[in-house]
């Protein structure tokens, strides 16, 4: 039976939750079951190579998996994958750019950053959109990749070590922008990082990712 888009379809009665991951397994990993409520942020950490990035890819349906993910009771497999990925967005650790200029990667520049001043906060002059991608540093690409993912205004944001290439100054700015994005929209975050201090700052709940499931751990 495919789950219907109704409240009762959420397992364990977590109808209030925004994103529900139900017995998700892939390769030799899983099953993973957890949920993230609207406006919440959960942190994931774990040894490198344990499959944190793969877990995020499974949540956005980019790799084959068993189990199901629900967004407000709607199963991932019930809607087209591109539509799902616009609502549940993954920002990978390494960002890729395929056109020559920054602007070409932002089809929809209307509102989001210019009005919020996010470009400036992340240390870019307004003309950054006309820059050649080849002149961007790794950190600059990482910061712009976040903004690029926000263009679709995703309901859930999966962040894979988003600040690994940033210095403390821009890390703080980065966290602030995400908070500004999250609060009015009530969006949910899953934040993968090795940085325990960062988890403490941003995550309400933290889990340790292991091969066969998640383990609770306090973001302490």
């Amino acid at each position: 039976m495919k789950a219907q888009p109704s409240e009762s379809s959420c397992p364990e009665g977590k109808s209030a939750s925004c994103l529900v991951v139900d017995a998700l397994s892939f390769l030799e990993n899983g099953p993973y079951s957890f949920s993230v409520g609207a406006g919440e942020c959960i942190g994931l950490s774990g040894q490198s190579g344990v499959g944190k990035s793969q877990l995020l890819k499974a949540i956005v349906d980019l790799i084959p998996h068993a189990g199901e993910v629900y967004l407000d009771g709607i199963a991932c497999s019930d809607i087209p994958a591109p539509q799902w990925r616009k609502q549940v967005a993954l920002v990978p650790a390494e960002s890729y750019w395929w056109y020559d200029t920054v602007q070409q990667h932002f089809p929809d520049l209307r509102h989001l950053f210019l009005s919020c001043g996010w470009l400036e906060q992340l240390g870019f002059p307004p003309d950054v959109i006309f820059w050649q991608v080849s002149r961007l540093s790794t950190g600059e690409r990482q910061r712009l990749a976040l903004l690029r993912s926000l263009v679709n205004e995703p309901r859930v944001l999966l962040l894979d070590e988003p600040t690994s290439g940033l210095d403390p100054f821009y890390t703080a700015r980065f966290e602030k922008i995400l908070l500004e994005y999250q609060q009015p929209r009530g969006s949910a975050f899953i934040w993968v990082t090795h940085d325990r201090e960062q988890l403490q700052r941003v995550a309400g709940q933290a889990y340790l990712v292991e091969k066969n499931g998640l383990q609770d751990c306090e973001p302490c």
Partner: protein, 266 residues
């Protein structure tokens, strides 16, 4: 005017040029001499064989025999396409995609040429059907092989970029559009270039052959123009077809890039 028949001696002199070249390759450590000689011998045997086969085919205009012959040509071409891939599709998919795309383009275009343009009776007259099909098929094969090799290689090497685009909510068509366009160009550019150079830089082989055979140059040129158009169309449609089918095969219904469908040759 009759064609001057070539003697064994004439061919031997020509062959000695290749032997000279292999000696040069040996001296220069190019490591090509073995392949060169083997290729030469293969060519001699294959052409002698096809000469006999064509003589037999021309002697009896049997549609069944001609159908068999063209299917053999098609399957050899399909094999050649899949052998030329650095990264092949798993199983027989690559072979089938090559067969289907070359069949759709080459066969229908050759059929059109025989029935509508040349209007030979019966339309499968082997003197016309086999050489026409051979030329269209051969060029289509080159185009399809080039384009699909580039497609699989590009998708493999640029998987990070393609997945990034999928992650931003693009469909597989959007995410692969630039790569697909680039590959189609790769497959079609050689024939476009050879149309541009035809007659000035190069005298096309078929026309040269007809002129050597005594056909008036203007007649030979008209045939060459026809052939060029057929080849361009055959290559173009074959490339479009194979790029579409190959890329469709490398993405699943959930818009994931399935690189596990590719295997590296050797």
């Amino acid at each position: 005017m009759d064609v001057i028949s070539l003697s064994v001696f004439d061919l031997s002199v020509a062959a000695s040029l290749l032997i000279l070249l292999s000696v040069a390759s040996l001296l220069m450590n190019l490591g090509l001499e073995k392949r060169m000689l083997l290729g030469g011998i293969r060519m001699i045997l294959q052409l002698l064989l096809i000469g006999q086969v064509l003589r037999f085919l021309f002697a009896n205009t049997n549609p069944l025999l001609i159908a068999c012959m063209s299917l053999v040509m098609l399957s050899v071409a399909a094999r050649e396409v899949s052998v030329r891939q650095k990264r092949q599709l798993r199983g027989f998919s690559g072979y089938w995609i090559g067969t289907v795309s070359m069949f759709v383009s080459s066969f229908s275009i050759t059929f059109l040429a025989l029935t509508v343009m040349i209007q030979v009776h019966p339309w499968y007259t082997p003197q016309y059907a086999i050489p026409l099909l051979g030329m269209v098929l051969g060029n289509t094969m080159t185009g399809v092989a080039l384009a699909s090799d580039r497609l699989t290689t590009q998708l493999y090497e640029q998987r990070g970029m393609v997945e990034q685009r999928l992650l931003l909510g693009q469909t597989w068509r959007e995410a692969s559009s630039d790569i697909r366009k680039d590959c189609m160009r790769t497959g079609m550019v050689p024939i476009i270039n050879s149309m541009a150079a035809a007659g000035i830089v190069s005298l096309p082989g078929m026309m040269t052959g007809q002129i050597l055979g005594g056909t008036p140059p203007v007649e030979a040129v008209k045939y060459q123009i026809l052939i060029m158009f057929l080849i361009a169309a055959g290559t173009g449609f074959g490339v479009i077809c194979s790029i579409w089918m190959t890329s469709r095969h490398l993405f699943d219904s959930r818009h994931r890039l399935c690189l596990d469908q590719l295997i590296l040759r050797r």
